[in-house]
């Protein structure tokens, strides 16, 4: 059992903390799925149900590529919407394709929490002690939080870098460094080091630059490949980007946030809307209050919770004259089309500023 290779689907840069976590709580070799490419999506789409949402296809593609490279234990999480049911269907599809593997879900009764994760890990590593598990769960959360803080800084400033690719290159270096973390002290040291390094990268940022908030569904927000690197492409037009969704938010803050969200959105929404629907309504209001120049809403095609929330978001934006554009990503979305829309958005916002 301990020779079996463990793998899991990608979720942006979070494969690094997940790798770190698994390598300390199991004795098995861990394999990060091969980087997402167009091939991943093609593979995933080929074996996916007709109108399932895009993240399912990416996840399935990741699994197939991992299995092809020798993985034999696959991990899946989820929650909120259909995401929680991905696992069983993906497992069935892969079995029907003839792969031999063990499928472990972090979910139990559609819930994801420290207890269910522990239960899942025990099935791989029966000797895992609670103390060891809790320690590494905490350090992993800490690492996720550190990465999220640095990523926030990157989004605010990457559009103004003086030397092209300087942010990207440093980010790559940082991730491979974090992958080798040991305990909480080594994570903290790395965080401090890279925070300093990022702050020392030269930028040319005017005081009142254009500011855009990116809201929407969680996978397309966090896995940049699936949104055709929308943040990077937007930033290129000298725009500061704000994004609310990250793992720190989803795993920790969201648990305590419902009341706050309902209060913020009280003029429009009375109840929770499912998945991140209410969150995005509240974020829209927040961005308007903070005088942002525009909003970009992203989601996979057919994402039900967001579809329910969009008419409400649209109404709020219209009442407050807030420009918003929507992207619905699909396996056939074209690169060029997205760039055209983003360029037009940047032009429009610049013109509005002039007035």
């Amino acid at each position: 059992m301990t020779n079996n290779i463990i793998s899991f689907p990608h979720l942006g840069n979070y494969s690094i903390p997940i790798y770190y976590f698994l390598s300390h709580v199991t004795k098995n070799p861990i394999k990060i799925a091969p980087p997402i490419t167009k091939k991943t999506l093609e593979l995933g789409s080929k074996y996916s149900p007709d109108f399932v949402c895009l993240p399912f296809k990416y996840n399935l593609g990741n699994f197939i590529e991992s299995l092809e490279e020798g993985a034999s234990i696959l991990l899946q999480a989820g929650g909120g919407c259909r995401y929680g049911y991905y696992g069983e269907v993906q497992c069935q599809i892969l079995k029907d394709l003839g792969y031999d593997f063990k499928f472990v879900s972090f979910l139990d009764d559609a819930k994801l929490n420290p207890k269910t994760i522990y239960k899942a890990l025990k099935s791989i590593n029966p000797k895992l002690s609670k103390i060891r598990y809790l320690y590494y769960l905490t350090t992993t959360m800490f690492m996720i939080n550190c990465l999220d803080k640095i990523e926030n800084y990157i989004r605010l400033n990457i559009g103004f870098e003086v030397k092209s690719q300087s942010f990207k290159n440093l980010e790559k270096r940082m991730l491979s460094d974090f992958k080798k973390s040991k305990g909480v002290i080594s994570i903290l040291k790395k965080y401090r080091k890279y925070k300093k390094l990022f702050k020392s990268l030269p930028i040319n940022k005017p005081k009142n630059c254009l500011k855009i908030g990116v809201i929407g569904e969680l996978y397309t927000s966090m896995e940049q490949f699936s949104s055709y690197f929308i943040e990077e492409n937007l930033a290129k037009y000298n725009i500061e980007i704000k994004r609310y969704t990250n793992l720190t938010y989803l795993l920790i803050k969201k648990q305590f946030n419902l009341k706050k969200l309902l209060k913020k959105a009280r003029n429009y929404v009375t109840y929770e809307l499912g998945a991140d629907g209410l969150d995005n309504v509240a974020r829209t209001i927040d961005l308007i209050e903070k005088n942002y120049d525009g909003i970009v809403h992203i989601k996979p095609f057919g994402c039900t919770p967001e579809i329910g929330a969009i008419p409400i978001i649209n109404k709020i934006c219209k009442q407050n004259k807030m420009p918003i554009i929507y992207f619905s990503f699909d396996s056939q979305t074209s690169d060029e089309g997205i760039k055209t829309r983003l360029e037009a958005l940047a032009d429009m916002l610049k013109e509005r500023r002039k007035k």
Partner: protein, 309 residues
């Protein structure tokens, strides 16, 4: 002046119409129900939501649109959770707020069922009673009476559908959410066609009560309604000749559940139909025809085999 409550003939109406209508009747409240779904209702409904929303939601919004000036209160149920550890499609969660924001001038009757947050069915009715000015006991009596009525209706329905399982004709289980199965634009034409071909079409909404069910088809399924559908497939599988799955484009839960059903149920032929507001009837009829032919052929062959043996 007499108070009128408008009820959209869409989504959960088909599942709870006995309970709801009887409850309002017990309180002597006049209700108006929107007409059967037609093309105009769908077109109207489509204009209120995103193009890629599922057909069932578009239909619902069309019905609300129809009712907006014809009643004092709109009855918009928000059913977020029916059993602990189970979920509903998020569309049911947004209905109230979606309607509230879309039809700003309408008054909405609050009805919220969210068992996970300790809001049970009766709490929902209690809120209605309060809004309309009825005492706790009056509401309770109306509810208990309506509940009894609903139970009896469900029992009758159960007998009716299970009787079909003993039919000498071809027996097909038609699996769909009740709001799709009985909608005049989605499932109804299919049921009528099957009937015209002298086929026993067993409808999938034959739960006897509100109890939580379990199914061996899927171990992690958490959508209450899809779970019930899987359970019925499991229960009737040995008595039927084939299964028709009907879904509306692009239904979230169905996209995964129906895939799993098709992959797991290998003993009976399955036809999967997806309805879109664009799909033409002829395409569906063609596919139904050939599916029935296959089933007939299969049945004949198996009876022949039995004779030989």
């Amino acid at each position: 002046m007499e108070l009128i409550v408008g009820i959209p003939r869409a989504l959960l109406f088909y599942k709870y119409k006995d309970l709801w209508l009887q409850f309002f009747a017990n309180l002597n409240i006049k209700t108006v129900i929107s007409p059967k779904t037609n093309k105009e209702i769908i077109d109207k409904g489509s204009s209120y939501v995103v193009d890629e929303a599922c057909l069932s939601l578009k239909i619902f919004m069309g019905h609300v649109d129809h009712l907006q000036n014809k009643c004092d209160y709109l009855f918009i149920p928000r059913v977020a959770c029916l059993n602990k550890n189970e979920k509903m499609c998020t569309n049911f969660l947004v209905l109230y707020d979606l309607v509230k924001n879309t039809f700003e001038d309408c008054k909405i009757l609050m009805y919220n069922v969210d068992v996970e947050n300790n809001e049970y069915e009766f709490d929902g009715f209690l809120k209605i009673g309060k809004t309309l000015g009825f005492s706790y006991f009056k509401t309770l009596r109306a509810y208990q009476n309506a509940k009894k009525y609903e139970k009896e209706k469900r029992r009758q329905k159960y007998l009716l559908e299970t009787r079909k399982l003993r039919s000498p004709h071809l027996k097909i289980l038609v699996v769909a959410h009740s709001y799709n199965l009985y909608d005049d634009f989605v499932g109804k034409p299919i049921l009528e066609y099957l009937e015209s071909q002298r086929i026993a079409a067993i409808c999938s909404d034959i739960t006897t009560g509100d109890e939580k069910v379990n199914t061996s088809i899927s171990h992690s399924i958490y959508w209450t309604y899809n779970k019930e559908l899987m359970k019925i497939i499991e229960d009737t599988l040995n008595h039927i000749d084939g299964i028709i799955l009907i879904s509306t484009f692009p239904c979230g839960p169905d996209s995964l559940c129906n895939e799993l059903i098709i992959r797991k149920i290998k003993s009976k032929p399955i036809l999967y139909l997806t309805c879109d507001n664009n799909a033409s009837d002829t395409g569906i009829i063609t596919r139904l025809e050939s599916f029935i032919d296959i089933l007939k052929y299969k049945k004949e062959r198996s009876t022949n085999d039995q004779q030989y043996n």
